[in-house]
Symmetry: C2
Subunit: 293 residues, 2 copies
């Protein structure tokens, strides 16, 4: 047996363009995603019911952060070790940060083509930070969304790349302008995963234990969806057309069944926020902001 | 404008055999159904986790009452007025009783062909009781499940058919041998409907109001699934292979968010049960029994 040659070949990895892939979805998939992020809080409120009910009087709408599901296949390819110049232990991959921008309201169903490119690779000493830019296009070639996934991979630093800088979105000193509490269900991760992230870390008590957790953790992007709902509800009247972008850092995991508390500060250009696991008082998302039109 | 000619033509309707249809499903669909009926109660209990997690250590299993989803297309055809000799206002259709028998554990994915036949039509005076027998077969021709759907249609009685008899399964006089309480989520119907019953009565506050309900009601077959879980947990250690059959009468609707209480009596041949909406003390399912091996 030989030890797998884990590491980064910067020349091969940086600038690597994935073979484009197409994600197909129906209204049922968008509804399932919305239920996965806890929508609706009130099943009688038409403003949130429209994200899960295809004949809603308000018109069916896709919740904006559903756009992250388009890129599921990219994450699968990274985890199965399919990228040139990148060899790593998949249990050492952490989703560090996520930026998602909406160019237009998402179609209620259809086919979306993603064209991911590895836009940056930083040498953090102990690990590597790999950044993927993912523009997403409808059939007619219009861009509907753009993502930036920052993935931190432990154990493969020291390859001689740039260290990079990190941008911190600091919460203002004043108390939050608004606070929203959202319970999650004990089955939240089991529901969310049906939208396409089947990592056993979120379902299997044994695998979660091997990864050092007392039980399965909620998907970071599920917590991200709850937070997006909290901000859009507070500052955008649930209107998906007003949602422009969201940026978060994944600080700690939330456990299914915990209550997520989102603290928000209304600034001129954006809503700065952070999220805590209410039962533990620990910050789970920070360096975070949403732009609302 | 003419009034639609509602009514029954017994000669055409009785014995009518539907064109066979095939239902396709994947593990994701079976998982989604299980979540729709509140499974798992404890996400760390492998005996229920196996119904929603495809890499479960116990082996993935399909919850037995998923078999009712196979026949969704038959209900759609009845509601769209596609049956010879039967014309009715679809808002007047009530699911009266359901019998479901399992011949074998359900495949974890695949294609199931249903061959429904209208086996009985009774003239109840004010309405008609239409009974459909639905045998369900796998690709290799083996029968895996058999259903009997009894649908009561208000307003089209008096066509001169037999009145029929109804079989009552009476609960014993003694106090129940076991009682299980199961909370349902306020979003339960919105989740359950993604398994194939998109009747707006279960999602749309306006439509529910027109039908005389204060808010959308839970699907009878969703309540049925919760009850099946309660009995299998109590008398079958959650083992799907031991589930033989279930029979219920739909007495009253449950509202999403209410707690379902299942009272059970262990008899030699079967478990007799009834279900109540705990908050109202009203019986929602009765004349009900499960056979467990």
């Amino acid at each position: 047996m030989t030890t797998p040659a884990y590491g980064v070949d910067l020349g091969q990895l940086l600038g690597y363009a994935f073979e484009p892939f197409t994600f197909h979805y129906a209204e049922r998939d968008a509804s399932l995603y919305a239920l996965g992020i806890g929508c609706p809080s009130d099943p009688l409120d038409a403003r949130e019911l429209r994200f899960v009910y295809e004949r809603s009087g308000e018109g069916f709408a896709v919740f904006p952060t559903f756009a992250v599901i388009f890129a599921s296949q990219m994450i699968d390819r990274m985890l199965t070790g399919d990228l040139p110049g990148l060899r790593f232990d998949p249990t050492q991959l952490l989703h560090g940060e996520q930026f998602t921008q909406l160019d237009a309201p998402l179609p209620t169903s259809g086919a979306i083509t993603c064209r991911p490119v590895i836009s940056a690779v930083y040498d953090k000493g102990k690990g590597a930070l790999v950044v993927a830019d993912v523009p997403c296009f409808t059939d007619d070639g219009a861009r509907v969304a753009f993502h930036q996934y920052s993935m931190y991979i432990r154990g493969i630093g020291g390859f001689g790349g740039e260290r990079g800088t990190s941008v911190e979105i600091a919460a203002p000193e004043r108390p939050p302008d608004a606070v929203v509490a959202q319970p999650t269900a004990p089955t939240q991760a089991l529901l969310y995963r049906l939208s396409g992230d089947y990592n056993p870390l979120h379902a299997d008590p044994l695998i979660a234990g091997l990864a050092g957790f007392p039980r399965p953790i909620l998907h970071g992007l599920c917590t991200f969806g709850f937070a997006a709902r909290a901000v859009l509800r507070t500052y955008g009247d649930h209107d998906p057309a007003r949602f422009r972008s969201i940026r978060v850092r994944f600080a700690k995991p939330l456990f299914p069944g915990e209550t997520l508390v989102t603290e928000m500060w209304r600034e001129p250009e954006r809503v700065i926020f952070r999220c805590l696991a209410s039962e533990r008082g620990e910050v789970v998302l920070n360096s975070a902001a949403v732009e609302i039109a």
